[in-house]
């Protein structure tokens, strides 16, 4: 099986704090993965390591067989949490920014996404609501013809209508050649998108599996399973 991402004994420490401890994650092509866990569990740290924004303290992470760097950044589309745009930007500025920055950015696709998301290119990003900002970030991230999409909390603080739209466009961007990793603690909304989940708690994988097999075995939804695992 071809692995687009492979981490072995991956650890990240921030001074005393162990954000990730010896994490082994193998990600196959053509699937949608969920990394689920409470806040502070290490989800964002893992994505940042994969995106090349952080360096591992120990262990290793490989994307398409390479350590994060210029090549991997060209095939990875990372959607960070929060607002990363410059204050002066309008939507059209962000569009050309992405177009200049990424060789695999598809402007046509982005415009279609804007249309679907009801985003007006003339609008200032700083005046967007949280829901609209979420739509914009996702529209841009999913308009790259990337091999690997890393989505950090794409639904956090998003209203129901925007949520549905975001889910639709994640599905639309997904194809057998691409792979998507979604980090979230809003499991109810994403569980029907997922092939496989990792439960991450205090920097360690405490459970993983194919979602349909887990439902079958435990007679629980992934959300219920999560509650069960993290409440005990």
């Amino acid at each position: 099986m071809e692995h687009i991402l492979k981490s072995s004994q991956l650890s990240k420490y921030f001074y005393q704090k162990k954000a990730l401890q010896k994490v082994d994650i193998n990600i196959e092509k053509g699937k949608i993965y969920g990394i689920l866990g409470p806040n502070g569990g290490g989800k964002s740290t893992f994505l940042k390591l994969a995106a090349g924004l952080l360096k591992p303290s120990e262990g290793e992470i490989l994307i398409d067989g390479k350590k994060p760097g210029v090549y991997t950044k060209s095939i990875v589309s990372y959607l960070p949490e929060g607002n990363y745009f410059y204050k002066w930007m309008r939507i059209q500025d962000a569009l050309s920014f992405f177009g200049d920055f990424y060789a695999d950015f598809d402007v046509e696709k982005a415009r279609q996404n804007f249309d679907f998301m009801k985003l007006d290119e003339k609008e200032k990003i700083s005046s967007l609501s949280k829901g609209m900002l979420g739509r914009l970030k996702l529209s841009l991230a999913m308009s790259r013809n990337a091999s690997l999409f890393l989505l950090d909390e794409p639904l956090n603080g998003i209203d129901p209508i925007s949520r549905e739209k975001i889910i639709t466009s994640i599905l639309e961007a997904f194809n057998p050649k691409s792979t998507i990793i979604i980090c979230s603690h809003l499991i109810v909304y994403i569980e029907k998108l997922l092939d496989y989940v990792f439960f991450l708690s205090e920097g360690q994988i405490i459970l993983e599996g194919n979602v349909e097999d887990l439902r079958n075995k435990k007679n629980l939804s992934i959300d219920q399973l999560y509650q069960e695992v993290f409440q005990s």
């Binding site: 053509g30 639709t168 599905l171 029907k192």
Partner: protein, 133 residues
Amino acid sequence: MDFNHNIPIYCQIIQQIKQDTVLGRLKPGQKMPSVREMAGKLKVNPNTVQRAYLELERENIVFTKRGMGTYLTKQEDIIHSLKKELSGKVIRDFLEGMNQLEYSNDHIMRVLREHLEEGRKINGTYFKKQPIK
């Protein structure tokens, strides 16, 4: 389609397609939506739909024409036995429920007969008063 997330989603898709086949909402021999179309409509992972289609193919309910897509079976006997399978499940569930209420077989027959003869509206369908032979 609303999913019950406690049960594997591909099983629920299979169940829905079987039901639509039996009820004639899907016509024998018709082309099924592509995996992508179906996934988009149901807002689920395409791999889940793929798994449902594979399972249905194994049960000979659908077949694929290479490069053309997936089609519903034309074989009446398969559709017929599907109907039997689905009704069998309803009956088993009914009997299980009645057993839990500690109804004996005779008693079950009696109340069932009463209900059928009385004729009443169930879920908007009117069951006509008719004697049972």
